[in-house]
Amino acid sequence: MAYSDKIIDHYNNPRNVGSLDKAANNVGTGLVGAPECGDVMKLQIQVDDAGMITDAKFKTFGCGSAIASSSLATEWLKGKSLDEAIALKNTAIVEELNLPPIKIHCSVLAEDAIKAAIKDYMEKNNLAVPAELTAHH
């Protein structure tokens, strides 16, 4: 399969690989996927008092498209408010990376990872979790 230049760029130079302290109150962690399905994403956000995402990190087990989707997601998350982050859709990732139909599930997983991380942060901080974060793909 031929990859788009953007996927290759993210694969070769992934942005924001790493981990934040998952025990910290201002960090939300999302872990989605399963090893037997061939994709696992861990996405973390760090949120300031104003509800802005100041940092985002990821680690991904998966194909190049999965790595690129999560790398791109962390790039986009930084500087966004939680509400803006919740509104991020997988279709935007598909468009940006030019994902072929067979790889769309990678973008869905990235969206799930974002939502799971935000949900984790909100639960930790006793915030009301909006309904769209509890719905699963």
């Binding site: 989605v32 037997e36 399905c37 061939g38 696992v40 680690k59 194909c63 790595i67 699963h136």
Partner: protein, 406 residues
Amino acid sequence: MTVKTPIYMDNHATTRTDPRVVEAMLPYFTETFGNAASRNHAFGWAAEEGVENARAIIAKSINADPKEVVFTSGSTEANNLAIKGIAEMYAEKGNHIITCVTEHKAVIDPCKKLERNGCNVTWLPVQKNGLIDLDQLKDSMTDKTILVSIMHANNEIGVIQPIDQIGKLCEERGITFHTDATQSVGKIPVDVQKQNVHLLSLSAHKLYGPKGVGILYVRRRKPRVRVTPILDGGGHERGMRSGTLNVTGIVGMGKALEICMEEMPTETVRLRGLRDYLRNKLTSNMTDVYENGDPVHKLPHSLNISFAFVEGESLLMGINDVAVSSGSACTSASLEPSYVLKSLGLGDELAHSSIRFGLGRFNTKEEVDYVADKLIGTVGRLREMSPLYEMHKEGIDLAKVEWAHH
């Protein structure tokens, strides 16, 4: 020493046609271009001579009689002819077939089709090392069993099934034994007499010959085996396979096998040395790498390894100037990981993390070093990026994690 890229190390998929083979084929396109079935002129005679020379070489390579060689378009056709041909020819004797879950699709799918049409098929499982259990095979045989079809060497993991013993068991019970020897002939010794093989499939393009030509060996004596043809027409190949013979392909296949048989003693040693070197380099420079399939009963040029915590397709992306295959779902059209690796009881995640190396005649030690070094670097980089590796290092048992299934 620098190597020329891309490097081809996927010789289970196909092989480069040896230039000596191409040279032998060339006159048969433009000069000796006759139809081997034209009995009334020199063009036909010359083509027939080319075909019969090749037939003799091919027969000799598996210790068969030339009359037992039926030319086909390749192993897929040979497997279909063997399985469907036996089922139809011996329908009155029985309707039970025994095969194995790790067979190539060209054996599995014909068996499935027969199953839909009323045959009983026993699908033997394999042990952790990829080999069938002979007692289980013996226990599966009934008075209605008309065919046992077990491959010689596996195309994904390279393990060599004990066909000597399988042949013996079949002989004792008077059951026809077919083996798909596509990966083994020309690489390791095969002897249809000694090994009691009745039907054997083989393809030229796996042994440095051209694509689109192969044979089905059909035993003529002790016992005489007959198959109902799939193709009806001019009655070529003693009525078992109609269709004008692929003279150029057949000549190429003969030359290819001649070279394989001549070079086998030295080439086996060389390739085993390279393979063991690759295995050793990978396993001694990385943790958590697992070899798939029995390490001893294995083709000398085969190696299949799972690199835990990294996914196969992303690994291939990191070594994109090297041609190898992965059992990862992402590299298959079906999005299912390799059924062969799954049948070893590996767990899907290790199937997703596997790479198949197929060394061949044109590979060098420098290439092996290049591939190994690049892989070690890529696995290291991807593990640093892998949440599974991080969890593993934290001491978390990944098998006990409740994953959010998609």
